[in-house]
């Protein structure tokens, strides 16, 4: 089934076409897996959420309305992110309100600098994001990749708006720190 337009694919999915499902899976499973594991570091849990998300995608494909190129991909991503958030809320280790400030030694400046992300592969960035503490990671993901405002994040996660802002600040700082360290190590290896 080469190059099926999204629209046709969506239609077929809506009718429960298993071939279309297989095709869609082949096309987007990797991407959606990456999104999922960016939210959930636990591989087993991420796999479960991904599975549930696909089942939901396939089951509710009938309700999807094609709205232009990329809308199918965006719709699927939204389902995965929602599934991940639901899981994170249930999981007991999750704590969106981090009272402790463990990273006070991070300098306040340099956040908008170009900290040489170009030299770092996406896989490494992914691992860094996964390494973030739970609350930071979720807020970072929602702010950066889902383009949510702090107000919206506060509503989704049931936290205060300035808590969201400060956690994002710390997430950014941590990542920046790790990227710098990574680049230094890479330089040293050379």
């Amino acid at each position: 089934m080469p190059g099926i337009p999204e629209q046709i694919l969506a239609e077929r999915l809506g009718r429960g076409d298993r071939q279309a499902m297989k095709y869609l899976y082949g096309l987007y499973a990797g991407y959606l897996n990456a999104v999922c594991s960016r939210y959930i570091p636990d591989r087993e849990a991420a796999k479960d959420v991904l599975q549930d998300s696909f089942v939901r995608i396939f089951s509710s494909a009938g309700t999807f309305r094609y709205r232009g190129e990329g809308s199918l991909k965006a719709w699927m991503k939204k389902i995965v992110v929602n599934g991940a958030l639901k899981y994170l809320q249930k999981s007991s280790r999750n704590c969106f309100v981090t009272g402790l400030d463990n990273f006070q030694d991070i300098p306040d400046d340099g956040f908008d600098e170009d900290y040489g992300m170009n030299a770092v592969s996406p896989a490494v960035i992914q691992e860094m994001i996964r390494k973030l503490p739970d609350g930071y990671r979720t807020i970072f993901n929602l702010y950066v990749f889902e383009d949510k405002s702090h107000k919206e994040i506060a509503k989704i996660l049931n936290i205060k708006e300035n808590s969201s802002a400060s956690q994002l600040h710390r997430a950014k700082a941590l990542l920046a720190k790790w990227i710098r360290e990574y680049l230094k190590e890479k330089e040293a290896e050379l």
Partner: protein
Amino acid sequence: MTEKWKQEYIDKMSGYSEPAPEALFDDIMDVMDHRDKNRKRIMLLIPGIAASAAAVIAAVLLLNHSGTPEVQYRDLLTDNVLEKIPAAVILPEIERPSELHGMFRRTLSGAGTPDAENAAGGSGTVSLPEERVPSEEARETVRETPDDVKEPDADYEGSARDEWQLFHDSGRERRRSRHSAFNVFASGLSGRTASHAGYSEAVTMASAFPMKYGDNSLSGIMTLNMTKDVNTETRHFLPVRAGVSFSWWFARRWSAGTGLTYSWLLSKSRTGSDENYVDSRQVLHYVGIPLNVSFDIWTASRFRVYASAGGMLEKCVGGNVGRDYYYSGMLRSSETEKLSVAPLQWSLAASAGLQFGLTRMIGLYAEPGITWYFDNGADIASVYSERPFNFSLNLGIRFSFE
């Protein structure tokens, strides 16, 4: 206007992908197939469960229909019963023996003079005035209850037990013998109900010991009832049970479980005549450990419908019986007594259940089902011994482990 740093991350990660786990697609398809099947099953299942639950409830209510407070004390010797009982046996009973204890003898010899050897006690027994023979006309139609026996046992001429059964049967084929303690019965709302002429077995046993009028309330009642019809009505209510369960899932839809249950057994009885009688109320406390296997019929996000089969071991951890003695309808004395049932109680059960999950691990469940209680030879009658095959409803909290 997206911040620069943000855009960098977006650009970097937008095309990033990680290969999905092997066989995930097959798993997804399995779930989809499962859902389609479930959808069809639910269409049949919900009305099916509703129908069978209604049928079980109807059956139980029907079988227990005899239990209403309006049961009047009646002489069971209706024409129906009389037809089947040869006169030779009936006569001694009608001509009630003059000695008090004779009323409760179990053996009746054919021609009908009281068998002196069977008299309990010797010279210490009280001789009471000859009672009036209950008139034949006093027979009213007994309200037919499934629990009362209509046919005497075929070889009634044989054992005392069978003859006893003619007039004092509770309607079950297998009568469990009890040897001491006051049997407590209750009638009414579900559980087990029985009515029969004569005193309750326990009173009968108690009266085997010689006593004089004035000795105690029981002897007083029995004396006062000499010229009256006496009857006994019993009610064993269905146990109220609550518990905590722990379940482990060892396959996708199968789980094994155990737990702890507490059951509260209530029984009530009234024995005597309309004016002079004994009212008793028995409560037994049982603690049990169930063991069962369950199969998930249907699961949704928070709900779970399942079928379960297994057994339980229970032990009576306490109980008491309270008795009120009434003369001419007025309370004369009361007493309470502690009870215990020594033997362990085994049972088997099959049930269907509905569970609502509060969290991933904790859920609330309701399990209607049927249970069979094994005969453990216990002295004390309760719903477990009198109605061993019964409807049950278990409620509780379940902790689930995957």
